[in-house]
């Protein structure tokens, strides 16, 4: 068996290797330096000891330090900041959507903002309505920023390296409940290009499309369906915006059926966009309408049984696939 590491280690490697490769890479965010614990989840552990002032703990000022990252990026640095939890992007949206995402365009290409915003989220730990949301659709709806959502340690490494090297702002969303899941170790120094989905498994009856959290669930359901004679093709988007429609359409053209699965709430979500684009391109070739599997349209609830009811289940994915086959 190849070397196994978890996502925390993979992210730490990516940041370490990027900082070693380019002195313009700087990190800041709450509690990132070793004096404050090396990050709330230890993703940046050891880096301030190794790189000194290039790794900074900040006050609890998301608007302040996100804006500072915008300015530092305009001046030519490559800041990688950490917004401790994804819900906290709400207090610095102005800097992300009005500034980071727009300065290249509004300046006519004279300036650009090569920064990475790392953040993490996910339900499952009863963290309720302000500590669990997947809000990627807000940013996918904003031209000028890319949205990257890895599902395993090796992808986390390669995609973070590519995000740091990218010339534009990248929102890098990590699924923290699976931080400790082991996976194949990345090849250090190798980036995974942004905007390219990965076909995880070939199949012929239906295309299952996911990213981040849903890539933990889709293979499990696919395995069960395979046993029942349903051949599933699986696509991990890896980059959610811009979408790799070429990979999606090539697959759905072949299978004629598609199910999109994400933890974010259903309405106006990434699944809706993918579904619309598939219908626009392949309407006559589809054997069934594209299905969406997502969380319920409510805030993430606290009590365990409510949280479980909020999130889609494996049975929901299976039922969606069976509807496309009916």
């Amino acid at each position: 068996m190849s070397e196994q590491i978890n996502t925390i280690q993979a992210l730490n490697w990516a940041l370490d290797d990027a900082m070693a490769a380019d002195t313009n890479v700087v990190l800041f965010g709450e509690e990132l330096a070793d004096g404050e614990g090396g990050g709330v989840m230890k993703v940046t552990a050891g880096l301030s000891t190794k790189y000194g002032a290039r790794v900074r703990s900040t006050p609890i000022s998301e608007m302040g330090f996100t804006g500072a990252a915008v300015g530092a990026a305009v001046a030519g640095l490559r800041p990688v900041i950490e917004i401790m939890l994804m819900n906290f992007v709400a207090v610095c949206m102005d800097q992300i959507t009005n500034h980071a995402a727009k300065l290249r365009f509004m300046s006519g290409g004279q300036t650009h903002v090569p920064m990475v915003i790392r953040t993490m989220t996910g339900s499952g730990f009863q963290t309720a309505g302000q500590h669990s949301d997947f809000l990627e659709a807000w940013f996918c709806h904003t031209p000028g920023i890319k949205v990257v959502m890895p599902s395993n340690p090796a992808d986390a490494y390669g995609l973070l390296r590519a995000s740091i090297d990218d010339e534009d702002p990248v929102l890098f969303i990590e699924h923290f409940p699976s931080y400790w899941n082991p996976g194949e170790a990345p090849k250090r120094g190798v980036s995974i290009p942004l905007g390219k989905a990965r076909r995880v498994q070939a199949g012929s009856d239906v295309t299952l499309i996911g990213y981040s959290r849903s890539m933990l669930d889709i293979p499990v359901v696919a395995k069960k369906l395979e046993a029942a004679g349903v051949s599933c093709e699986i696509i991990d988007l890896r980059t959610v915006s811009p979408l790799d429609m070429e990979t999606i359409l090539t697959s759905v053209k072949k299978t004629g059926r598609a199910v999109v699965v994400h933890e974010a709430v259903r309405s106006f979500g990434v699944g809706a966009e993918i579904s619309a684009r598939i219908h626009e391109s392949l309407f006559r070739e589809l054997k069934a309408p594209v299905e969406r599997v997502a969380s319920q349209d409510c805030p993430v609830p606290f009590a365990k049984q409510l949280e479980t009811a909020f999130l889609y289940s494996h049975a929901d994915i299976e039922a969606a696939v069976r509807r496309t086959l009916a």
Binding site: R56, P59, G71, V74, H99, S107, H112
Partner: protein, 326 residues
């Protein structure tokens, strides 16, 4: 007023910038009234001596972050007038190719790094530009300009705190024109002097008559010297007034008539001219020559703009991301 003036050449440089700003402002309004320019225009007429006096202490290497009411700041910093005019006219030769407009003029060559249309948002960005200079060991400073209204938004407070904690080489310049859109200072601000807010963040605050270029010059000199020598940030509050309301078309009914009349009669521009000649810093003929030269330069800038082609609609596809910018 005018206590301890610098040498006559510096005084005349300040005057030249004031003339340039005033002539450009008059002309922009005239062109709008003639239907030749369509845009939201936030005139800074009345505030010109603040950037004029500060900018003689800066070089192109120093960074400027300004706001929607900022054309006076840009001109003083050295953004070529013809690029501003072409931008306002939506021309391909505009500073931002017509994609930013008056609220987002950018020109890194002269240090004009970011112009924001969101109240207060420039201050965190200014912190980041200053952080980049600090990390690289550069001596350049960052000026970040804003109005009195911006001192009530969170970004102001987060930025002053962050700049203080990190001892950033940034100067926060509050051009206090006594009205935040339509709300007077007394109604919207909990404190009489915004410069007193500096004390809460353990940084120096300077309150100065913004209609006295000599006083502004001295305040800026202290602040810039402190920033360049590693002494950290300063908050300057320069008291002034805007003669043309919040934006062109605003009848200013919320301003008491007596207050408005007093402000206009204290117009810093003719007063300074009178003082320069009465004190022998420049002859009337010299001042006339400055005005004639600036008027001719303005005509050339306007001609350049309107002789340039309109930006092609295909530009909307460019500069969203680097990939599509080639």
């Amino acid at each position: 007023m005018y206590v301890d003036p610098p040498d006559s050449a510096t005084l005349l440089s300040i005057y030249r910038k004031m003339v340039q700003i005033k002539l450009n402002d008059d002309r922009i309004i005239a062109m709008m009234k003639a239907g030749k320019l369509q845009m939201p225009y936030y005139s800074a007429r009345g505030q010109e001596c603040i950037p004029a006096a500060i900018s003689v202490l800066l070089t192109h290497a120093d960074y400027l972050v300004t706001i929607y009411r900022g054309i006076h700041d840009m001109l003083a910093k050295g953004v070529p007038a013809k690029l501003i005019w072409a931008e306002l006219a939506g021309r391909s030769t505009g500073a931002c190719k017509g994609k930013g407009g008056p609220m987002h003029v950018t020109h890194p060559e002269s240090g004009c790094m970011v112009t924001t249309g969101v109240v207060g948002a420039g201050m965190p960005i200014g912190c980041g530009l200053a952080l980049a200079a600090q990390l690289r060991g550069e001596s350049r400073v960052t000026m970040t300009n804003f109005g009195d209204g911006a001192s009530n938004i969170g970004a102001f407070h987060e930025s002053l705190n962050l700049a203080s904690v990190w001892k950033l080489p940034v100067i926060f310049v509050c051009q206090n024109n006594r009205y935040a859109e339509h709300t007077s200072l007394a109604k919207g601000t909990s404190i009489e002097r915004i410069s007193d807010r500096a004390r809460s963040y353990n940084i120096p605050g300077i309150h100065v008559d913004g209609n006295d270029p000599v006083a502004v010059y001295h305040a800026a000199k202290v602040a810039i010297g402190r920033a360049r020598s590693g002494g950290g940030p300063t908050l300057i509050e320069a008291m002034t007034f805007r003669f043309n309301g919040h934006l062109i078309g605003d009848p200013g009914e919320y301003i008491p008539k007596a207050e408005y009349a007093a402000a206009v009669s204290a117009d810093p521009y003719p007063k300074y001219r009178e003082w320069l000649s009465s004190q022998g810093h420049a002859s009337a003929a010299q001042l006339d020559a400055v005005e004639a030269e600036e008027a001719a330069a303005l005509e050339a800038a306007v001609k350049f703009a309107f002789d340039s082609p309109l930006t092609d609609a295909s530009e909307i596809k460019r500069d969203v991301f680097a990939d599509a910018a080639a």
